[in-house]
């Protein structure tokens, strides 16, 4: 029996004091959590749907990498004749997600920024209302896949495929290892590798052969990752290939929303005002929309096009307030294109430089 009274009597005083101390620490951590929870501003909370989806995607990604590392490292060990070790590595089971969360590693701003943005984009894209086209006209991405321009057509086909792959993986909850930008993927693979190794060391002590196998598996995972195959990168490639003229941008943006291709929308907007995908996505996902309106003005869009985009996004994203947008529409469409462009100029700086500037400001505010 696990917790019998006889057992309890035998507990030494020292054990009891230790347990009490641990409880005290836990109470401390809990209180800290409760305090920060209470003071969280409502608008910075994740809604339940985003929270659950984020948890699922994050877990699937970490587990995907973990499975890959275990399998390949076990193969390496088995190939070297160390079957028992391979077996132990394969069977090793620990909650890597939990371990990484405990260590605070998953709290990484850049990683979480990317993950939350991907989840949000997915949820908004799912909720966008499709647009019917007159006659037998196909949706925009299918049309682009059939144009004579081979570069555009192949990028459009690649985007169709990449989005189908991501959707299949998401719907089936299957591990999805390759959806992060290279730096984030690199970091995560080593974290997972360290966590797998920690479990092995705890179970059977350190072993240089196992370490080498884990390193080899991690390097293999890194080498096979191609960030250019992610839908975000392909969408950007497609936007560059289309290279929409000023008077085509509005229609293409509206068509992309009507085809529920938020990634294409973000890429076309980014291309039009010279932003990378991540920056354009940040602007598009902001519920206030202020920087999005500026960006649409900077891309030369007129009042009607801006209103249609705002309405489509508001209908798909409950965080947005279409009524207050309607109040401001006149002043938004009165912003001169040049003024909008210069207001957004800081965003067009090199991505890494911007990150460094942000970090500098954040740290000096502390």
């Amino acid at each position: 029996m696990s917790v019998g009274p006889e057992h309890a009597v035998r507990q030494s005083l020292g054990t009891r004091l230790d347990a009490a101390r641990r409880l005290g620490e836990r109470a401390n951590v809990r209180l800290a959590g409760e305090i920060s929870d209470y003071f969280l501003a409502p608008e910075s909370r994740l809604d339940e749907r985003t929270r659950v989806t984020l948890g699922r995607v994050l877990t699937a990604m970490v587990q995907g990498i973990e499975t890959e590392i275990r399998r390949y490292a076990a193969r390496v060990l088995a190939g070297a004749g160390a079957e028992p070790k391979a077996e132990q590595l394969l069977k090793g089971h620990q909650d890597v997600v939990r371990r990484l969360s405990q260590a605070g590693l998953l709290r990484d701003r850049l990683l979480m920024d990317e993950m939350i943005a991907q989840v949000r984009s997915g949820l908004i894209a799912e909720s966008l209302v499709p647009t019917a086209h007159p006659g037998e006209q196909a949706s925009v991405l299918v049309r682009l896949a059939e144009v004579d321009d081979g570069v555009v057509a192949s990028a459009a086909r690649a985007l169709l495929s990449a989005e189908a792959q991501r959707r299949t993986a998401t719907e089936q909850g299957t591990p999805l290892a390759g959806s992060l930008p290279a730096e984030r993927h690199h970091q995560l693979v080593w974290w997972v590798a360290a966590s797998v190794r920690e479990g092995q060391v705890a179970a059977g002590g350190g072993d240089p052969a196992v370490d080498r196998a884990i390193v080899e598996a991690a390097q293999r995972s890194l080498a096979s990752h191609d960030e250019g195959q992610r839908p975000e990168a392909i969408a950007m490639r497609l936007a560059r290939a289309i290279d929409a003229r000023g008077d085509e941008i509005g229609e293409l943006l509206i068509d992309a929303l009507g085809d529920r291709r938020l990634s294409l929308f973000i890429a076309v907007l980014g291309r039009a005002i010279d932003l990378d995908f991540e920056s354009a996505r940040t602007i598009v996902l902001e519920p206030e929309g202020d920087r999005l309106w500026l960006a649409l003005r900077a891309a030369g869009l007129e009042r009607v096009a801006i209103a249609r985009i705002a309405l489509a996004l508001a209908d798909a994203d409950p965080r947005r307030d279409i009524e207050s947008f309607a109040d401001e529409l006149d002043s938004i469409s009165a912003v001169p294109v040049e003024a909008a462009r210069s207001a957004l100029a800081p965003l067009a700086l090199h991505h890494d430089l911007r990150l460094a500037i942000d970090a500098l400001v954040r740290e000096s505010v502390r």
């Binding site: 948890g55 647009t131 196909a138 299918v142 085809d259």
Partner: protein
């Protein structure tokens, strides 16, 4: 004004001036607006219509939305399109369907994907925009090569026995697609298609979202999709805290801790707290259900004392039994019955069994709890003096959402189902013997 029984009621129109005042309207809109206290020359009096009209006027673009408006005692589902026109606004209202009171949310008929189904989506020109890759691979089809191709590149459609083609009907009438017989073009495998129609903001046909299910037994049956763990996690988190708060507040009111409360309200508070506890139990059971239904569910056995487990479970329910005027006879203190199982789960099973026995016992009755070793197995037996269970019902009560007596209050019909699954996961079993009128005997067996 309501048009009952006509499936496709024509659209009604109205025009508004640049200030949003009603200029003219078809009878249906006019009647609705009159009822709300409006008139020609004044702003629209139906708030939902007025909001959409105002938004369309300010944005300067077409705005269309579905709304639900009150019309006498019934509610109407309406589809509103507000289109700015010169200085004014044209309003088109269609739908006019009476909302029927529904006990559950309406399900998107047609396309409910189950594990193993091929999920597909097509745009307004019936070109494939999505095909689930793994499911397609199992059917011998390369999903990625089909994206952008016509739907008929994936499926060959077969006419029904009466010569009709359900797909044509679905597209022409914009109704969900059911039971379209088809074959996978590349392999000839027979499938059945169902799909729901995607509508755009104006209600136009914008494509199909569907699933293809293998028609015959060509494929092994897919494992039944259970509750996903994220669903129960979310449920757990989303419900437990608010429910606990509701129960705590209701108990505070019941105890009149904040001062005297009218007697009726004290009773209501008891009802609220009891209902809250019932829901909380349901949440716990659903979380358990998710766990026990996973194919890889196992429990790590450890040495336990089944007599001790039975005594503890009886102790936990002593207060409830006392309130119901039922006595619990528990195993003697010195009795030991070694068994192998999971302590917490064994305790959970015994609490469930004794709780049921107390619930079904008459006042003054005795629930006897015994533990013994029999035939190499450890057994804990819970016997009551209730009305018993007919032989025909004895298998049924271990099913999901079944109850010993469906008319009895309390319980959600998951307890025995989960208890048996847990007992079996520990290498044991849970059985019942009973005759109507002679009480019931539940036996939990665990490996000794």
């Amino acid at each position: 004004m309501r048009v009952d029984g006509i499936p496709d009621v024509p659209v009604s129109h109205a025009t508004l001036d640049h200030e949003g005042r009603l200029v003219a309207a078809d009878p249906a809109i006019m009647a609705l607006n009159d009822q709300a206290g409006g008139a020609v020359g004044e702003p629209l009096a139906v708030p939902q219509l007025a909001t959409i009209a105002r938004l369309a006027r300010r944005l300067g673009i077409l705005v269309s939305r579905g709304v639900c408006v009150a019309d006498h005692e019934a509610d109407l589902d309406l589809w509103i399109r507000a289109q700015p026109d010169g200085d004014g606004l044209r309003l088109a209202v269609s739908g006019w369907r009476e909302v029927r009171h529904r006990s559950v949310a309406p399900r998107n008929a047609g396309a409910v994907a189950e594990a193993g189904d091929l999920v597909w989506e097509a745009d307004g020109a019936l070109r494939l925009t999505f095909v689930s890759i793994d499911a397609a691979r199992r059917l011998g089809v390369d999903a990625l090569a089909l994206l952008g191709q016509p739907l008929t590149g994936l499926f060959t459609l077969d006419a029904a026995a009466d010569g009709t083609l359900p797909m044509l009907e679905a597209v022409a009438r914009r109704k969900s697609l059911n039971e379209q017989q088809a074959r996978i073009r590349q392999t000839g495998a027979r499938v059945v298609l169902s799909a729901s129609v995607k509508h755009d903001a104006a209600g136009e046909f914008a494509g199909l979202a569907g699933v293809a299910r293998v028609a015959d037994d060509a494929l092994p049956p897919a494992p039944q999709a259970g509750l996903s763990s994220s669903f129960t996690e979310g449920l757990d988190r989303a419900l437990r805290t608010p429910l606990a708060r509701i129960i705590a507040h209701a108990d505070t009111i019941h105890a009149q801790a904040e001062g005297p409360v009218q007697h009726d309200y004290v009773d209501y508070a008891t009802d609220i707290a009891n209902a809250g506890r019932h829901l909380l139990e349901l949440v716990d059971d659903l979380v358990d259900l998710q766990a026990v239904e996973r194919p890889d569910f196992t429990l790590a056995p450890e040495p336990i004392d089944l007599a001790d487990v039975a005594r503890r479970a009886a102790g936990l329910l002593a207060v409830r039994a006392g309130n119901a005027g039922v006595a619990i006879a528990r195993p003697l203190r010195e009795l030991r019955v070694p068994a192998s199982g999971d302590f917490r789960r064994a305790l959970q099973i015994m609490v469930n069994l004794i709780g049921n026995a107390v619930r079904y016992s008459p006042e003054g009755g005795v629930v006897s709890v015994t533990a013994t070793l029999s035939g190499g197995m450890a057994e804990a037996i819970v016997a009551d003096q209730g009305k018993g269970i007919a032989p025909a019902d004895q298998a049924r009560i271990f099913e999901k959402f079944e109850r010993v007596d469906p008319n009895e209050a309390g319980g959600n019909g998951l307890g025995l189902y989960i208890a048996r699954r847990l007992a079996r996961a520990m290498g044991g079993d849970l059985t019942v013997e009973s005759m109507p009128g002679e009480g019931a005997r539940f036996t939990l067996k665990l490996p000794a």
